[in-house]
Amino acid sequence: MAYSEKVIDHYENPRNVGSFGKEEKGVATGMVGAPACGDVMKLQIKVNEKGIIEDAKFKTYGCGSAIASSSLVTEWVKGKSVDEAATIKNTQIAEELALPPVKIHCSILAEDAIKAAVADYRKKYGDADKKAAD
């Protein structure tokens, strides 16, 4: 499989690998995929009081494209509001990394990981907009 330079760069120098401490405030986690399918992504976001994602971390079990997709979205979600992050589309990820058709599922998984992390955030901390209105 020939990979794009960007995929190789993310694979060789993954950004934001790791996990937040279990007690850290404002942390939400999205875990998607299944080992039997060959990829599992764990994406964590750390959201401040203003509803802005100030940090993100990932761990991925999967092929180079899956690692690159999750590494890329940790960079993209940082500085965005939770709502903005939830609008990131797999097509943007696939385009940025020049994923071949057989690897599109990696970008879909990365989008799902963001959505799952956002959903976990809303479940844990309530809606950010409502919080601002309180």
Binding site: M1, V17, M31, A34, P35, G38, Y61, G64, L109, D112
Partner: protein, 406 residues
Amino acid sequence: MTSARKNPIYLDYSATTPVDPRVAEKMIPWLTEHFGNPASRSHGYGWEAEEAVENARAEVAKLVNADPKEIIWTSGATESDNLALKGAAHFYKTKGKHLVTMKTEHKAVLDTMRELEREGFEVTYLDPEPDGLLDLGKFKAALRPDTTLVSIMLVNNEIGVIQPIAEIGEITRSKGIIFHVDAAQATGKVAIDLDKLKVDLMSFSAHKTYGPKGIGALYVRRKPRVRLEAQMHGGGHEKGFRSGTLATHQIVGMGEAFRLARLEMAAENERIRMLRDKLLAGFKDMEEIYVNGDLEHRVPHNLNVSFNFVEGESLIMGMKELAVSSGSACTSASLEPSYVLRALGRNDELAHSSIRFTLGRFTTESDIEFAVKLIKERIGKLRDMSPLWEMYKDGVDLNTVQWAAH
């Protein structure tokens, strides 16, 4: 440490081997000077080519202690498997239409069996034991009065295990069942004595044994005589078993490759066993690694290991300094893990995370040292990145997790 080498270290000898320079040298004159058609009977060009073909046939026969008359040239082991299975199944179809093989056979056997099923034959695909070997009791139980043909490989291409061919042959011969063995991965690695083994048909390949690609052979026993229906029709070459002009240079190459294998096998196997043991010892202090397939009944050339909690394709990507094969078919377009490892009962994750290291004639001790160092470093890096490894370290039983399937 990892950038010192230009080319990746080749540890994929079961995929193919380089042509031994001594073999290549013997082949070349048969392309240019001695280009005659071995079937030409009316002049010296043909006669010398025919002599070269017969000398090579004798060398192939000698490696496996057969009569040269029992060796039929083909284009490779895949064609040999096709000729053996279709040829015998068709010829003996009035006796019965039941065939037996194993789930861990090469695709050349499995796909041919599938084709025979479409033609109306019934095929039993036996499971291996978790160590990859065939259980003889289960094998015997699968045989029926209408079983005409059994096909079991000698050495498995993915896990290197050696099947009990001698014992299987005793059983099939006593029941009058034709026994085919795919020995593509075995020549030059295990001693084969067809005078003793009760094998009726055996497939060979040149390019797994330091010969050229595109040439192979099928052993067809003469006593007791085995009959085949030809699959390739034409000029009646190879006693009508396989028509087509003989590729003299390829045949000369296979003959020389098999001659060298016969002379050098004992010493070479000892050296390779030492290297394989060194490779395995290098992994000893790593957690959660699993050797696939029995280690005793196995050629020393093969080590197939699963590195748990690391995905196969990223593993291959992380080992670009090594030319190895992965049990994860992610490297092709499909997401199916190795069917051989699945048949051993390995779960998908372990099947996906397996690496097949196959060593050969030109593998050196420093190659192995480099490989061990690199693998430890890269597995460590990938596990630091793996959520599964993190969960395992936290004591989470991954089998109890509800995964969101996709």
